[in-house]
C-alpha cells in the first residue's frame, strides 16, 4: 500500500529561501533554472562486472554495474534475451534510506530507468538469444545509489547508459548440449541511448535537475526520457501536485535539448 510520505523536517526558513530564490529565477547553488549541476562520469571501475559506470551529478553519486549471464528466456518471449533493471537505495547514501525490502521510491526509480532502456530498444533483446527458447543472455542492470543529493532518476539513468555502453559480453557457442565460452569478448551492442531529464515544480516555477533541497520543497516532479532520435520513450510524473498542459509541453521540448547535451557527455565518457 502506498501512503503519503512523511518528509524529513526541513527548516521553514530554508524552505522559504529555496522558494523565494526560484521565484526570482535564481537557485540556491547559483545555477540557472534550466541548468544541470556538474556531471562527472567514470567507467570501468568494477573489473568483475561486464560494464560499470559511476556518475556524480553535483553531490549525488550513483554507481551502475552490468552483469551478463546465461539463463532461460521468459516462456512468452522465447526469441528474446532478458533485461532486468534494479535500483538499490543503499542505507549509506542518505539518513532517509532504510534497510529492508525495496521502498516505493526504489521501485519507482528502477522502473523508470528500466522503461527508458526497454522502450527505446537500447538493447536488441533478439540478439541475446543463444539457443531459441532455451538459452539466452540475461542483462542485469544494477543501480547503486551511494550518495543522495537529489535527482536520482537522472543520475541513475546516466549511470545505467554509460555502464551499458561500457559493457563487454563473453562470446559463447553451443556444443552439443553444452554452452561453452569461445574465448574473447565483444562490445554489448547498443541501438539507442535513452537519457532521462527530470524537472521539479517549485511554487509556479519549473526547474531542471532538482537538488535534494529543491526536491524537499517541490510540489511535483516530471521525468521525460528522450532517445537518440529526439523522441520520447518514457515519462513519469511524481509528487503531490500536478502540471498544467503548457508546463508539460514546455518541459518536453526542453527535455529534448537537455537530453542531447547530456547524451554527448555520457557517450564521450563511456568511450574514454
Amino acid at each position: 500500500m502506498s501512503a503519503t510520505p512523511q518528509l524529513p523536517p526541513v527548516a521553514k526558513l530554508e524552505q522559504k529561501t529555496v522558494v523565494d530564490l526560484v521565484t526570482k529565477g535564481k537557485r540556491i547553488d547559483e545555477r540557472g533554472l534550466e541548468s544541470y549541476r556538474p556531471i562527472q562520469i567514470q567507467v570501468g571501475l568494477i573489473e568483475k562486472a561486464n560494464g560499470s559506470a559511476q556518475v556524480f551529478l553535483g553531490k549525488s553519486k550513483v554507481l551502475a554495474g552490468i552483469k551478463i549471464e546465461t539463463g532461460e528466456p521468459f516462456p512468452d518471449t522465447p526469441e528474446e534475451g532478458v533485461l532486468t533493471v534494479n535500483a538499490e537505495l543503499v542505507p549509506l547514501a542518505s539518513p532517509s534510506f532504510e534497510m529492508g525490502p525495496p521502498s516505493e521510491a526504489a521501485i519507482e526509480l528502477s522502473r523508470v530507468v528500466d522503461r527508458g532502456i526497454r522502450e527505446s530498444k537500447a538493447i536488441d533483446l533478439k540478439s541475446l538469444v543463444i539457443q531459441k527458447g532455451k538459452k539466452v543472455q540475461v542483462v542485469y542492470v544494477d543501480v547503486y545509489v551511494l550518495d543522495h543529493d537529489g535527482n536520482l532518476i537522472d543520475a541513475a539513468s546516466m549511470a545505467a547508459l554509460a555502464a551499458l555502453a561500457n559493457s563487454k559480453v563473453a562470446k559463447m557457442e553451443v556444443k552439443g548440449d553444452e554452452l561453452v565460452a569461445k574465448g574473447g569478448h565483444h562490445q554489448l551492442p547498443l541501438n539507442n541511448h535513452p537519457v532521462a531529464v527530470t524537472f521539479a515544480k517549485i511554487d509556479k516555477t519549473i526547474v531542471v535537475d532538482p537538488s535534494l533541497e529543491e526536491e524537499q520543497v517541490m510540489s511535483a516532479r516530471l521525468t521525460v526520457t528522450i532517445d537518440k532520435n529526439g523522441h520520447l520513450c518514457a515519462m513519469q510524473k511524481g509528487g503531490l501536485y500536478g502540471f498544467t498542459p503548457d508546463e508539460l509541453k514546455k518541459a518536453v521540448n526542453l527535455a529534448v535539448a537537455k537530453a542531447a547535451e547530456n547524451r554527448a557527455k555520457i557517450m564521450a565518457a563511456a568511450k574514454g
Partner: protein, 255 residues
C-alpha cells in the same frame, strides 16, 4: 483462457480499430457508486472489458499510530489485480508494477482531497482490478475519485483519467489490451478538469514531441467527457435517494 493471437492490423481500411471504434472514441463506460455495504464509499467501473471495484475507508484513526501526520490526513492507496483478472494467473502478492501504480494513483488523487481537514487520520483507497483490459490504472483513478466523493470526503474536484496511445503510427484514444500490447506507445493521463491540472502522466513507447502534444489534448478531452459522466453518476445516486424519501408514506400516528 488462451491469449488472443496478434491481430494482423490494428486499424482497418475504413480507419476503424479491432473493436470497431474510431481513433478518438472511448470504449463503452459504465459507472456506479455506493454498491458496497461496509465501505464508507465505493464505486465500480466498467471500461471495455475492465471491471474494477474501489472502496474508500476513512477518514479513520491511523493504524499504526506512527504513520499519522499532525497537520493532514495520510492518503493510502492500494492498486491490486485479482489473480484471475488477466490471461495468465497473476500471483496475488503485490508486484513491482502494482506498487508503482499504487504510488502514482495516490499522487494523482492527492491534489484534490482536502486532507488538512482531517489531521492524524488515514483515508484508505482500495482498488481491486477484477478483470483487466488495458488502461486499468486510469479506470481505477476515475472510480477511486468517485468512491472518495461517495464517502463524503471533501474534495476540490473529481479526477478523471484516460490513456491515449499510438497504434500503426496514429494516436488513438483509450487503448484496449491488444492495442496496448501490439501498439507503439501508451500515455496514461489523469486530469482535474476545473483546475486544468494533470495529476498523473506516464509514458512508454516511442512518441515525437508533436505526437505527445496531440495525445495529451486527446486524453484531456476524453477526461472531460468522463468527468461529466462521473458527475451524472453521483447526481443519480442522490436523485434515487430523494425519490425514495418522497415516496415513503408518512406513518400514521395512533393516538
Amino acid at each position: 483462457m488462451p491469449e488472443p493471437k496478434q491481430p494482423e492490423k490494428l486499424i482497418d481500411e475504413k480507419g476503424l480499430r479491432i473493436d470497431g471504434r474510431r481513433l478518438d472514441q472511448l470504449r463503452p463506460l459504465k459507472l456506479e457508486v455506493g454498491l458496497l455495504d461496509k465501505a464508507d464509499g465505493s464505486a465500480y467501473i466498467e471500461q471495455g472489458k475492465n471491471k474494477i471495484l474501489v472502496a474508500v475507508y476513512g477518514p479513520r484513526e491511523a493504524h499504526p499510530k506512527h504513520i499519522a501526520m499532525p497537520e493532514r490526513a495520510v492518503i493510502r492507496c492500494r492498486y491490486h489485480m485479482a489473480p484471475f483478472s488477466v490471461d495468465e494467473r497473476k500471483s496475488p502478492a503485490p508486484s513491482r508494477r502494482e506498487m508503482e501504480l499504487s504510488k502514482v494513483i495516490r499522487e494523482s488523487l492527492e491534489p484534490v482531497v482536502l486532507t488538512d481537514l482531517y489531521p492524524r487520520t488515514t483515508i484508505d483507497v482500495f482498488i481491486e482490478v477484477l478483470q483487466s483490459d488495458g488502461g486499468s490504472r486510469c479506470a481505477g483513478i476515475t472510480a477511486a475519485s468517485l468512491a472518495l466523493a461517495d464517502a463524503g470526503i471533501p474534495m476540490k474536484e473529481l479526477v478523471a483519467a484516460c490513456a491515449v496511445g499510438k497504434i500503426q503510427g496514429k494516436m488513438a484514444l483509450d487503448l484496449s489490451d491488444a492495442e496496448d500490447k501490439y501498439g507503439d506507445a501508451d500515455l496514461p493521463v489523469a486530469l482535474v478538469p476545473n483546475m486544468g491540472l494533470v495529476t498523473l502522466l506516464q509514458m512508454d513507447g516511442n512518441l515525437t514531441t508533436a505526437e505527445f502534444e496531440q495525445g495529451l489534448s486527446m486524453a484531456m478531452e476524453a477526461c472531460k467527457t468522463i468527468h461529466t459522466m462521473q458527475r451524472e453518476t453521483l447526481k443519480k445516486k442522490y436523485a434515487t435517494i430523494k425519490d425514495a424519501v418522497e415516496e415513503r408514506e408518512e406513518p400514521e400516528i395512533v393516538a
